[in-house]
Symmetry: C2
Subunit: 405 residues, 2 copies
């Protein structure tokens, strides 16, 4: 089993089998690209420059986008280089000057987000929401098992973990009379997994399911904060808008697909035949066995199994481009809320509290149906990495500030 | 009345009262910013450099975004400078080396699009579509008169007028059985007016109706090509996705709000009270009296009056940010399809042909319900400018290529 000479605590999110890429700002200094190892971040631009590494101009860029655009060969070669330097003791003196304790750096938004798309691909979640919101109709719409339902979100308000935000205000439906205006009364989370596009495609040319890994570099955790009351009022007929656009938080580290090969798994078998453009090679599926933990104010609320998701990210990408739409470097697309079948596996408070009818009791004795001001929500996750070593995703966290007065 | 020494034919879209900003590439040369006057484009970066103008670094940038970000004072001062140079004969020799006949340049996408939002703000259009698609329900949803319904579209597929595109393929609903896959059978246009954001806002701080002109620089024509059959199947419950994301065409010239002051008009009076954050100052409304012409293969199909739009761009901006969402330089938001009350005033073929039940007969004897391969759709428009001189918007044009085989 490969080990790093950099100390890596047991259970760390960032063993040498992971090597996620992000962006950091040391206490004194400018933003720069970084790779996480144990409880440290490597300044990869400076390291590449000092070792005369080929990809130095990509790694010394102020954002991840040029590296993302470079494609799988460069991704693989940089990964091989870092694996060598961080595993072979003889490189210690060359690397050590470029190591920063994670506790002493700020983590920044790792890439410039081009377009942001949000899917709705967990059958448990879609069924739960349908049951809650439309109790007298079949919970899934007729299209749901034929295509990965999705929509565009606001790219400009995708922010890195830790970015605080105010409770959104907006139009709230009232049972008697016109809508009122004020702070959302049903502020919620959406526990999701996001996919980061590196290599762009041409307008008019779809990306087949089998080309997923030629375009997508890696994976982040996503919390697509949602105001359920605003959403219920605004969403017909064109979908969610202000209920989601106020903030989307992502984890600061992009975990490469290369680190998740051992986590690949077949998605659930569907009971509806998929059209050819949505069929995966059953021998090489792109389901991913990632377990996500949801914590509220430090208390574990839920564990959501991403492996239960009905549509894989390869199918989502094929669908998103089948009409000829092109993708760009920095595009982010997310799975939709991940919920498992059991009540301890729900990825939203809408489901955990069943729309407020079953409030959650926290260890401090307080109850929650939706989020209160001051609440902190943290997503973390684990997957199986190479050699059976678990890899993690860092954390995707956010705190609710009171609404504007 | 102000005149330019540059010849401007009667009826030109680009008298000196207009001065729209775009981006051109001369036959031999790189892309650069330009301002249209008559049938010429001024290379404003080179002109600024040769006359030692202040804003030279903004005007010599390769895209419009830095100029857009500079804000109303800079916009006004550059406009004043250009007005002086193009109206005063004594500047002729300084300007002439930087004039290019429009026939000899390519026009490029004028700005990098950040987020793209599409509204649905024409009451006639929303009523027509509701009547066609949901004949047994009230045509307008209960929310429609309380808020400007809108959604996010795909920024990466916003392209300049003239960009050809393939007819999109996708899942089409079938009356008996599962959906089929193939080229859209109901390819349509959406005739819209778009607004280009210059000055960004802070996350968490709404932009009031009264600050519209502090943020928005100008106006383009938008054709948000739509596949009605794909849309009908995919849109529930999260809204349109692939039915719109394959291409959105915009006109190459951004007409400044400064050129449209004489076109300002009060929007239709609503019969439902607006919440305070959506109320305009009745003395300074941001409705705009713009008449849009829709042509198919050179034949005038429709004239759509933008002044009939229920929600103004100032109200749309206030709504889009009231939840705390921020805006960025290069954001584009469009009105939604503009339709007037009469049948000659519809902004989509869905309405013109009433969903195929009343096909249009063209002068060549052929009929159209929706678009055929090879069809060319052209939007042009006129508004009243200063001194009563009409200003135009150039054209927003696109040709349908056959679907991928």
């Amino acid at each position: 089993m490969l080990n790093s000479w950099v100390p890596v605590e047991p259970g760390s999110d960032f063993p040498i089998q992971n090597l996620p890429v992000g962006r950091m700002r040391p206490r004194a200094g400018a933003g720069r690209l970084a790779v996480a190892i144990g409880s440290h971040a490597v300044d990869v631009g400076a390291l590449a420059a000092s070792t005369s590494r080929d990809a130095v101009e990509l790694l010394a860029a102020p954002v991840l986008n040029p590296f993302l655009a470079a494609g799988p060969q460069v991704w693989g070669s940089v990964r091989g280089w870092l694996t060598e330097l961080l595993s072979q003791e003889r490189w210690r003196s060359a690397v050590e000057p470029h190591l920063y304790p994670l506790a002493e750096v700020d983590l920044l938004l790792p890439f410039e987000v081009a377009d942001y798309v949000d899917f709705y691909s967990s059958e448990n979640h879609a069924t739960n929401l349908g049951t809650i919101l439309r109790p007298n109709e079949p919970p899934l719409m007729p299209n749901w098992k034929h295509l990965p339902v999705g929509y565009h979100g606001r790219a400009g308000t995708v922010a890195v973990s830790g970015t605080p935000f105010r409770r959104p205000r907006g139009q709230r439906p009232e049972t008697d009379g016109p809508p009122s205006f004020g702070p959302s009364r049903k502020l919620d989370i959406e526990t999701e997994v996001g996919f980061v596009v590196g290599v762009p495609s041409e307008l008019g040319t779809p990306v087949p399911v089998t080309s997923f890994a030629d375009h997508v570099f890696g994976v982040v955790l996503v919390n697509d904060w949602s105001a359920r009351d605003l959403q219920a009022w605004e969403y017909r007929p064109l979908g969610p808008f202000l209920a989601k656009s106020f903030l989307t938080s992502i984890s600061p580290w992009v975990v490469p697909l290369a680190a998740l090969q051992s986590a690949r798994t077949a998605p659930p078998e569907g009971d509806v035949p998929r059209l050819p453009y949505l069929r995966e090679d059953p021998a090489h599926p792109w389901g991913l066995d990632i377990d996500i933990q949801v914590s509220l104010n430090g208390h574990l609320v839920s564990e959501a199994p991403f492996a239960t998701t009905y549509w894989t990210p390869a199918q989502q990408l094929a669908h998103m481009t089948v009409n000829g739409a092109s993708i760009r470097t920095g595009d982010l697309y997310a799975s939709g809320t991940v919920s498992g079948p059991g009540p301890g596996q729900y990825g939203s408070f809408m489901e955990v509290s069943w729309n407020g009818t079953r409030p959650l009791t926290l260890p401090d004795g307080t109850q929650r149906s939706f989020l209160e001001d001051g609440d902190v929500v943290t997503l973390t996750a684990r997957a199986s990495g190479e050699d059976g070593v678990p890899v993690g995703f860092g954390s995707c966290e956010g705190r609710v500030l009171p609404a504007l007065g």
